[in-house]
C-alpha cells in the first residue's frame, strides 16, 4: 500500500493515452461529443454499487445541501463503516468538500449553507438542534487541504485541543498526550528538540503532519481529511499515507483526494461524486478495476475531471 512510484507512472500513462488520440484538435472535440460522458443522465438519489454497510459509523440518508439557491449536494445516501478508510473522489466542484464538512458541521459557519436529510453518527442525529457541536467535533476531527497550524509553538498546537477539552489534569499528562500524538503522526523525532519553536517555521509536510497530530490529540473517533496531501511533495505524501494506514486500525477515516493512486493505495471503499450526485460507491479495488457506472469509468480513465 505504501509504495508509490509505480502507480504515479500509471496515472501518467492513463492520462496520456486519453489525450494522445491522433486527430486534429477540432475533430477530436467532435468525436468526444458523440459519447460525451457528461451527457449521461444521472438519476437523482440513485447510487450504483454498495453504498450501505452493516453497523455503520455514519448513516447518511437523503442528504441535500444548498448554498443559497445552489444545490451542491443532491439527495445522497451513504453509510460509512466503522474503522474503514473511505475515499471521496470526483471532478472539482462536485461537492466532495461540502459533503465532508457536513459530517462535523463545519458548514455551520457558512451563513447561506443549508443541510437537509438525516445524518447520524452512531445513530444520533448530527444536526439535532440540541446537539453539542463542540462534543461532535471532538469526536469527528478534521485535517484541511492547506496545513493551518496556529501561530503558536509546536507544543501549544498539539496541546490546544486537549486543553480545551480538559483531557489532562497535570502538566505531565499533557506532555504525554503531546508526545503520543506527535509519535503517531510520525513527527516526534523531528519535533522533540524544538517543541517550543513556532509551528509556522516548519516545512509544509511537517506542518501537515502537525495538523494531523493536533487532530488526533483529542482522540477523535473519526478523522476527516480534505485533500491532505495536495500541498505536499511525494515523500511527505508517502509519509502521510503511511500514517493513514496505521491510523485506520483505530479510527474511521474519510479522505477527499484528487489522486486516484492515493485513493487506491489508502482506502477500503471509494465513493465517486459527480455534480452533487453520489454516482458510485464500492470496494476500492472494484471501483478501479471494474467500475459499473460509465461516469466513474470515464473519470478514472482520465477522460475528464
Amino acid at each position: 500500500m505504501n509504495t508509490m512510484s509505480p502507480s504515479i507512472s500509471a496515472e501518467a500513462d492513463m492520462r496520456s493515452k486519453g489525450a494522445a488520440v491522433p486527430v486534429p484538435d477540432g475533430r477530436r472535440k467532435d468525436t468526444l461529443m458523440e459519447d460525451k460522458p457528461e451527457d449521461t443522465v444521472i438519476e437523482e438519489g440513485k447510487t450504483v454499487g454498495k453504498p450501505f454497510t452493516a453497523d455503520p459509523k455514519f448513516k447518511l440518508r437523503n442528504v441535500d445541501v444548498s448554498y443559497g439557491a445552489d444545490r451542491a449536494i443532491k439527495n445522497i445516501s451513504l453509510d460509512i463503516g466503522r474503522n474503514e478508510v473511505i475515499a471521496f473522489i470526483g471532478p472539482s466542484g462536485c461537492g466532495k468538500s461540502t459533503f465532508l464538512r457536513c459530517l462535523n458541521r463545519m458548514n455551520d459557519s457558512i451563513d447561506i449553507c443549508r443541510v437537509k436529510g438525516s445524518l447520524e453518527l452512531d445513530e444520533q442525529n448530527i444536526y439535532d438542534s440540541k446537539r453539542d457541536v463542540v462534543e461532535l467535533r471532538a469526536r469527528v476531527g478534521m485535517v484541511f487541504q492547506k496545513p493551518n497550524p496556529f501561530p503558536k509553538s509546536i507544543y501549544d498546537n498539539v496541546a490546544y485541543g486537549p486543553r480545551i477539552h480538559g483531557l489532562a489534569n497535570r502538566k505531565s499528562e499533557l506532555d504525554d498526550i503531546v508526545e503520543n500524538s506527535l509519535r503517531k503522526a510520525g513527527l516526534w523525532n523531528e519535533a522533540k528538540d524544538r517543541l517550543d519553536a513556532m509551528a509556522t517555521g516548519m516545512s509544509g509536510g511537517q506542518q501537515q503532519r502537525l495538523c494531523i497530530a493536533r487532530a488526533i490529540a483529542v482522540s477523535p473517533e473519526v478523522i476527516l481529511m480534505d485533500e491532505p496531501c495536495s500541498a505536499l511533495d511525494p515523500i511527505a505524501t508517502a509519509r502521510v499515507e503511511e500514517l493513514i494506514a496505521e491510523m485506520s486500525e483505530s479510527y474511521t477515516i474519510v479522505i477527499v483526494t484528487h489522486s486516484m493512486q492515493q485513493a487506491a493505495r489508502v482506502s477500503n471503499r471509494t465513493a465517486y461524486f459527480h455534480m452533487g450526485h453520489l454516482v458510485e460507491v464500492n470496494e476500492t479495488d472494484t471501483v478501479f478495476t471494474s467500475p459499473q457506472h460509465p461516469l466513474t469509468e470515464s473519470y478514472i480513465t482520465g477522460r475528464f475531471g
Binding site: N104, M106, S109, D111, V133, V134, E135, L136, R137, A138, G141, M142, F144, K146, N148, P149, F150, P151, K152, Y160, G161, I164, H165, M198, T200, C211, R214, A215, V218
Partner: protein
C-alpha cells in the same frame, strides 16, 4: 511672466513632449515590425521625455523663484543714494516695503522722497526683466530637455530603467520631505525648549509640583513669581487618558469582536460606518456635551452618594473622551481581526473549540499587533485632546488622583499659554515649547514600548 503661470506652461510642455515621444517611438518601431522590437514600451519613452522636459525646468524655476526677490532687493538698496542707506535690518525692510508699495501702486508717490520713487521704478524694471528672463530660460530648458529625450527614442535604448529610477527618486524625495519636516519641527521646538531652560531650571520644571505660569507684568507687581512644575499637568493628562482608555478599550475591542465574529454581514455593514462616525464629530461638540450634560450629571450623582464633585471633573472629560476614541480601537481592531485567515478559525473550530475559545486563543493573539496599534492610536488621541478637557475638566492645575476633581492637561496648558497677545520671550510663552517637547518624548517612549511589547508577544500567521 509669473511663476504661477510658468508652472502650468511647463506641465503643458511636458504633456506635449509625452505625446511627441509616444508617436515617435511608434514610428521608430513600425519599420522594425511593431513595438515588441523596442527595448521598452512606448509609454516609457514618452514618460522619459515628459520627465526630461519637466524636471530640469522645474528645478531652475524653483531656484530662480527662490533667489529672485533677494537679489533684486540687494540691487535696489545698492542703487539708493549712499546717504539714505538703511542702518539696520529693520529700517531696510521698512524702506523696501515702501518701495514695493509704490511699485505696486498702493502708495501715492507724490508725497515720497525722490530716491524712493526712483528705486520703485528700478524695482519694477528689474522685476519685469527677471520675469522675462526666467520665462525664456525655463521654456528653453524644457524644450531642450524634451528634445534630448526625443532624440533618444531609439529601439536599443532602454527607457524603462531611466523612468523607474527617476520615479524611485521622486518617491524618495517625497518620503524624505515628510521626515525632514517632522525633524525640523522637533528641532525648532527643541531650540526653544533650551531657551526656556535658561530661565527656569530643568529640575524645577520636571519635578516641581505646582504650575502657575503667570509671571509679573511689571517689576513692582507682587506675588507672581510663576511656578513651572510640570507634574500636576502630567498627572492630569494621565488621569484623563487613563479614564478615556478604560472606557474605549473594552467597549471598542468587544464591539470589534462582535462585529467581526458574530454580527451578520448586514449588521456589520451598517454598524461599522455608524461607529466610525463617532470619530468624525468635532471635538468641540463632545466638549460641550461633556461640560453641559455629563459633568453636571456626575456632580449630582456624586452628591446623591454623598461625595463632593466639582462641576468640572476629570471623570466627565475622560468618559466623553473615551466615547470619542472608541472608533479608533474598534475600527482598527475589527480590520485586523477580520484579516486573520479563515483557515485559523476552521482549524480551531474543527478541534471542538467554541467560537469564544477560538477568539480568545487563536484570533486575538494573531491580531494582537494590530489591536495594540489601534489602542496606541487611541491613546495618542487621548493624550493630545484639548478641547474636551478645556470645557469639561477645567484649567486648574490640581495635583490629584481623584477623578471627581477638576484637573488640567499638558495640551490645555499649551493652548492657554499661547492664546491671546503674548510677548514671545517670556518664560511663560517659552514653557509651551518645553511642554510640547516633553509631550513628544513621552508619546515617543510609549510608542517604542508598545512596539517592543508587540514584537515579543505577536503570533505571526502566514
Amino acid at each position: 511672466m509669473q511663476t504661477a503661470n510658468l508652472l502650468p506652461l511647463v506641465l503643458v510642455l511636458a504633456v506635449v513632449a509625452y505625446g511627441l515621444a509616444y508617436m515617435r517611438s511608434r514610428a521608430v518601431a513600425a519599420p522594425l515590425g511593431g513595438i515588441r522590437n523596442l527595448k521598452a514600451l512606448p509609454f516609457y519613452y514618452a514618460a522619459r521625455a515628459a520627465l526630461w522636459c519637466a524636471i530640469p525646468a522645474l528645478i531652475v524655476l524653483a531656484v530662480w523663484a527662490g533667489f529672485e526677490d533677494k537679489v533684486i532687493q540687494g540691487i535696489v538698496i545698492a542703487s539708493l543714494p549712499p546717504d539714505t542707506w538703511p542702518e539696520s535690518a529693520g529700517q531696510a525692510s521698512l524702506i523696501l516695503s515702501q518701495i514695493s508699495n509704490v511699485a505696486a501702486g498702493s502708495l501715492n508717490p507724490e508725497f515720497l522722497p525722490e530716491h524712493i520713487t526712483g528705486a520703485a521704478s528700478l524695482l519694477e524694471a528689474m522685476q519685469d526683466k527677471s520675469g522675462n528672463f526666467k520665462a525664456i530660460l525655463v521654456v528653453l530648458i524644457a524644450v531642450l530637455g524634451a528634445t534630448f529625450a526625443w532624440t533618444r527614442v531609439a529601439p536599443h535604448i532602454n527607457a524603462r530603467k531611466n523612468v523607474e529610477t527617476t520615479l524611485r527618486r521622486i518617491f524618495f524625495v517625497c518620503a524624505a520631505l515628510a521626515v525632514l519636516t517632522t525633524a525640523g519641527i522637533v528641532f525648532s521646538v527643541f531650540l526653544e525648549t533650551l531657551r526656556f531652560f535658561d530661565r527656569v531650571p530643568i529640575t524645577e520644571f520636571l519635578f516641581g509640583t505646582s504650575w502657575s505660569p503667570q509671571t509679573a507684568l511689571r517689576i513692582d507687581q507682587i506675588g507672581s513669581e510663576g511656578a513651572f512644575g510640570v507634574i500636576p499637568l502630567f498627572t492630569g493628562t494621565l488621569l484623563i487618558s487613563a479614564i478615556a482608555l478604560l472606557v474605549a478599550v473594552p467597549v471598542g475591542l468587544l464591539s470589534a469582536i462582535y462585529l467581526s465574529e458574530y454580527a451578520s454581514k448586514r449588521m456589520r455593514s451598517t454598524v461599522k460606518p455608524v461607529l466610525e462616525m463617532l470619530a468624525g464629530i468635532p471635538t468641540v461638540v463632545y466638549g460641550f456635551f461633556a461640560a453641559l450634560t455629563v459633568a453636571p450629571f456626575i456632580r449630582d450623582l456624586a452628591a446623591i452618594v454623598g461625595l463632593e464633585a466639582s462641576s468640572q471633573s476629570a471623570l466627565a472629560a475622560g468618559l466623553v473622551m473615551g466615547i470619542m476614541i472608541v472608533p479608533f480601537v474598534s475600527s482598527l481592531s475589527d480590520d485586523v481581526i477580520s484579516a486573520v485567515p479563515q483557515t485559523m478559525r476552521d482549524g480551531s473550530l474543527a478541534l471542538g473549540a467554541t467560537q469564544s475559545e477560538t477568539m480568545k486563543k487563536v484570533i486575538f493573539p494573531a491580531a494582537l499587533p494590530g489591536i495594540i496599534g489601534g489602542i496606541l492610536l487611541a491613546a495618542s488621541r487621548a493624550i493630545g485632546e484639548t478641547m474636551i478637557v478645556v470645557m469639561a475638566a477645567g484649567l486648574a492645575a490640581n495635583l490629584t488622583a481623584n477623578p471627581l476633581d477638576s484637573v488640567t492637561t499638558v495640551t490645555v496648558q499649551i493652548a492657554t499659554l499661547l492664546v491671546g497677545d503674548q510677548e514671545f520671550d517670556s518664560a511663560k510663552t517659552l514653557s509651551a515649547f518645553a511642554l510640547g517637547m516633553l509631550l513628544f518624548i513621552v508619546t515617543l517612549l510609549l510608542n517604542v514600548l508598545a512596539l517592543k511589547i508587540v514584537r515579543k508577544y505577536r503570533e505571526q500567521y502566514d
